[in-house]
Amino acid sequence: RYVRQLQRLQLLFSPTAADARGARQFVEEAALDFARRHPDVVLYISPRAGLAPVLLAEYLNGTVREELIASKTSEEIVQLATKLARQSGLDIIRIRKPFHTDNPSVQGQWHPLTNKPSALTVQGPRLQPQ
């Protein structure tokens, strides 16, 4: 069972600014398709005048990511939105290990005394095996 980590996408743009043309085209043409393809993401579209057009993405762990969509075509915005929809809300920093386990050892962790005969069975010059 898979839970998408993206909670909502807020599209804020102004209806008159020139750099929000791609956002307006996206809203007219591709927003419905995007919403239908990702039924568990809520898409809010609200007009906001005076500031640059922005795509806000909120994730289930509370992180909020802002992406500028000024002077971008509708296809680029679609690609950006799908990329954000597939991400999770963790910070994009250097991860040290590409794997993570909660149970790293199944047969017991190796220590230097595994697979060695114990002192009771070793035959030394004076010590007889018991």
């Binding site: 991400q87 199944v106 047969q107």
Partner: protein, 155 residues
């Protein structure tokens, strides 16, 4: 002929058992392991899987990340073939080099498809007025291993 220090090799001489007896012993061990698997007496299973040109040691419910793009969408279940080794608490099944597909089943789900952190690729030669800077961002996929199952069809 007199025995010198080089008549016999320095390692202890090993006597191989009788082939007939050995075959009987092998069959017995195989039957025992089969019965154990059929009754379900194993606890946690781990497997060594060859995936994305790397070999991973995986158990159930653990995360794996790879630096490429998989064609599956987020939330798809994937079955991993190319299993080299499967082990439990008491027994291990070693493949030469792979185990059969009717013996092991490893399932994983695609959780996330993000991009990596922006890596800087810069070249600089001093006193030559030469520098180039490029920021590389490559896509990554995160998988979670759901289950590892074995079926009692050894021979």
């Amino acid at each position: 002929v007199a025995k010198t220090s080089l008549t016999s090799p320095p390692w202890p001489e090993v006597k191989l058992p009788d082939p007939v007896e050995e075959a009987k012993y092998h069959a017995e061990v195989v039957q025992k392991v089969n019965k154990m698997i059929a009754t379900g007496q194993y606890g946690r299973l781990f497997a060594v899987v060859h995936f994305a040109s790397k070999q991973w040691k995986i158990t159930s419910e653990d995360l794996i990340m790879m630096d490429n793009v998989l064609e599956a969408e987020c939330g798809d279940r994937i079955r991993m073939e190319k299993v080299l080794l499967v082990g439990a608490d008491d027994f291990t099944l070693i493949g030469r080099p792979l185990l059969g597909k009717d013996l092991v089943r490893v399932e994983a789900t695609v959780i996330e498809k993000t991009e990596s952190w922006p890596k800087i690729n810069m070249r600089f030669w001093k006193r030559h007025n030469y520098q180039k800077k490029k920021i590389i961002v490559h896509p990554q996929t995160v998988l979670r291993i759901n289950t590892i199952e074995i079926f009692p069809c050894l021979s």
